[in-house]
């Protein structure tokens, strides 16, 4: 099994690199060959990544969340899954190059430095912890992708406003589609963060004696979750849309990113498993 894991570990960054390459060629050109190849590669790559993560879990008896480089592979997978969901839901392929580049970046770093750890803390072998961390990661990935689409929206919005009709203008999907993509990404992020919070609240008190509902990471995550939940509601019922919604998506992610970074740096307590 370890040989297959090693092969997949080498294969995955190559597959992601190929995907990014063909999505970029398709974005800049108009060759049917590039379209066909990237369409053929997408699902097998994500499937191989899923098999790789499953094999790692089975072989080393823990969900691959025990080191930074294992987590990077999960993030890479999360990005790819969120992107595939969006592409499948909206059938627009013009943004793959921007999103899948993140998958490639995280996976290549992971593949280069990942170690096959057999000995890990007992708590890290918990499947509930695996679900909690994986959901949280996919949730944040959803929010990150929403911010990325928000950024593309703002870029195209200003292109149209300023009458600059560049390659981005020609190749990016229209504003309405970009807004839908952002909404889907935020919704995915909201759902997965919700799962992470729910699992955490149920499981953490039984796993850690020193558990506190005022744990900074928990408080920050719940605040972010509420913020995006309110945004979704505001969009649906109060007409929060267009540029303002995109600014909120970007700002929300930035708040999440910086508050979690600060939380991790200055408020280390039980919510640190390594």
């Amino acid at each position: 099994m370890n040989t297959i894991i090693d092969i997949f570990n080498i294969l995955l960054p190559i597959l992601y690199a190929m995907l990014v390459w063909f999505y970029a060629k398709d974005f800049l050109g108009n060759q049917p060959l590039h379209k066909n190849i990237r369409a053929l590669l997408l699902f097998p790559t994500v499937a191989i990544h899923l098999i790789y993560l499953t094999l790692r879990t089975a072989a080393f008896d823990h969900v691959p969340i025990t080191t930074m480089f294992e987590i990077m592979s999960i993030i890479s997978f999360g990005v790819a899954v969120v992107y595939v969901s969006i592409e499948y839901a909206i059938n627009v392929k013009g943004t793959g190059v921007f999103i899948l580049f993140l998958s490639f970046l995280f996976q290549i770093i992971s593949s280069l430095f990942i170690e096959d750890l057999i000995e890990v803390k007992q708590v890290l072998r918990s499947r509930l912890l695996g679900t909690h961390v994986t959901s949280a990661l996919i949730g944040y990935v959803g929010l990150a992708i929403a911010a990325m689409y928000g950024f593309l929206y703002i870029m195209l919005y200003h292109n149209i406003k300023a009458k600059r009709f560049s390659t981005y203008y020609l190749k990016l999907p229209n504003l309405e589609i970009l807004e839908r993509m952002t909404t889907i990404s935020i919704t995915i992020g909201f759902i997965f963060l919700g799962i992470a919070i729910a699992v955490g609240i149920v499981w953490l008190p039984s796993a850690f004696e020193q558990f506190s509902y005022f744990d900074p990471k928990l408080v920050i995550t719940v605040c972010i979750w509420i913020l995006f939940g309110v945004s979704i509601m505001a969009k649906r019922y109060y007409g929060l849309r267009g540029r303002r919604f995109m600014v909120l998506a970007i700002a929300g992610f930035m708040i999440a990113f910086f508050s979690l970074t600060i939380g991790n740096l200055y408020f280390t307590d039980f919510h640190n498993f390594y």
């Binding site: 108009n30 060759q31 049917p32 195209l156 149209i160 406003k161 009458k163 009709f165 203008y169 020609l170 229209n174 504003l175 309405e176 589609i177 839908r180 109060y238 007409g239 929060l240 849309r241 267009g242 540029r243 303002r244």
Partner: protein, 437 residues
């Protein structure tokens, strides 16, 4: 291949000549019937607002090579006289092309690079329709089928492999394209046309063509608005009441003559609150401008005037020009393919004869000796002798098919040599022709 073309187009003839030479479907049918009877073994005619062209394969049996020029003159006389317009048609309005130049011309037309606007999308559909007419009239044979199929295939390749057909090249269409960069689809969108100017009308027509959900038309003269509404579909709104529509429509096209803005930035801003900040696309065609330019500074309002859209058009035309080398390469590729096909068609009869000859010899020898074998062995003998013949003929067949670099005379002498060596009956060119037609 003796393909001949005679025609006029936007480069050789002004509009008043082109419109006189334009052919209706019945006229095209009649022309095809006449030409197949008197001039060609196969023919096809294409007639659009920018060109009328007659394509034909000259029947070699009826008109040998030496009499081609007089034959072409006859066709020209017929073409010129067809619409009783010969007195106003000047010689420079016409062009005649033959052989490779004619095929190349057909391919350029299908690729949209011979059109008035480079990268014309419509011409491919027009060729397709006119080709169907030739099929219906039984004037399209093997050659014409192959030529037209190659031309249509080329047109599709040009559309998918290059960007020469992309980007709007008229201001009205550019406005619709730009609106499409804001809205994903138009079927649940509403548009308001203020005024009944030509560009505004065209833009509204494009929107209707793209399936706009609802179209409202308003004009100072209600009758004009009603006429337009009946032509392109839509509802008429009183000019005095159009302000109330701003909160509900997604696209506004304005082309009225007014000394002051008919819509101020403040009015648009107020309407946005009512429309819950849903994006609003405004196309101001009026000169002087109808809409306060300050509206473009409002969130989710996209205001465009003639200048900004003319820039898009100029950019798109330039981009299409840059795609020309790619299109020319595709044309060249398709020309090579058709040349290869034509050559394989010429050697085909000789290969068939050669294979038939070997098969006859095999059968003759096998039948002489077959009784010496048992029933089981007979099948084996059949199989083995067939394999021997196939093996023997494989290399000569491949060599005959691959003579792409040879001149016509080299190829002819080689085919003659093969025929005389193996005693194949008939001269090669006679058989080739019977195969071709």
């Amino acid at each position: 291949m003796d393909l001949f073309i005679i025609g006029i187009n936007h480069r050789t003839a002004p509009l008043e000549v082109r419109e006189k030479m334009w052919l209706s479907i019945d006229e095209k049918r009649h022309m095809l019937r006449h030409c197949i009877k008197h001039f060609f073994s196969e023919c096809f005619v294409v007639s659009t607002c920018n060109r009328t062209e007659l394509y034909g394969i000259v029947d070699e049996k009826q008109f040998p090579q030496q009499s081609h020029s007089s034959h072409y003159q006859e066709i020209q006389d017929f073409f010129v006289a067809y619409k009783n317009f010969e007195s106003q048609l000047r010689p420079e309005n016409l062009y005649k092309l033959t052989s490779v130049n004619a095929i190349k011309h057909l391919f350029r037309v299908a690729a949209g690079v011979d059109s008035m606007v480079v990268g014309d999308v419509q011409i491919l559909g027009q060729i397709k329709d006119d080709f169907q007419l030739a099929i219906d009239e039984h004037t399209a044979g093997t050659m014409m089928h192959k030529l037209l199929q190659s031309a249509l295939h080329l047109g599709k390749r040009v559309r998918t492999e290059t960007t020469i057909m992309e980007g709007a090249v008229s201001v009205s269409y550019a406005a619709v394209e730009l609106a499409n960069k804001i809205f994903a689809d138009f079927d649940h969108r509403k548009a308001l046309l203020i005024g009944a100017g030509e560009t505004g009308e065209l833009t509204a027509k494009h929107l209707a063509g793209r399936g706009i959900g609802e179209l409202f038309i308003t004009n100072r003269t209600r009758q004009k608005a009603e006429e337009l509404a009946s032509t392109i579909g839509g509802s008429v709104v009183e000019f005095e009441n159009f302000h109330s529509m701003i909160a509900t429509v997604d696209i506004i096209i304005s082309s009225v003559t007014a000394t002051e803005y008919i819509l101020t930035a403040a009015q648009i801003k107020n309407s946005l609150k009512q429309r819950r900040h849903s994006p609003l696309f405004i196309f101001d065609i009026g000169v002087p401008r109808n809409i306060d330019p300050g509206a473009n500074d409002i969130d989710n309002v996209f205001l465009n005037d003639m200048d900004s859209l003319s820039n898009i058009v100029a950019q798109n035309i330039h981009k299409r020009q840059l795609e020309l080398p790619k299109v020319n390469e595709l044309i060249l590729e398709e020309l090579k393919n058709i040349h290869q096909w034509y050559r394989s068609l010429q050697v085909g009869p000789t290969i068939v004869d050669l294979r038939n000859h070997f098969e006859n010899v095999r059968r003759e020898v096998v039948s002489e000796h077959i009784n010496r074998f048992s029933e089981k062995e007979k099948e084996l003998v059949e199989l083995v002798t067939k394999r021997i013949v196939n093996k023997l003929l494989h290399h000569p067949t491949v060599t005959l098919r691959n003579g792409h670099d040879e001149t016509e005379s080299q190829k002819k002498s080689r085919l003659d040599l093969v025929r005389s060596l193996f005693g194949l009956s008939g001269r090669v060119h006679n058989e080739e022709k019977s195969e071709t037609h």
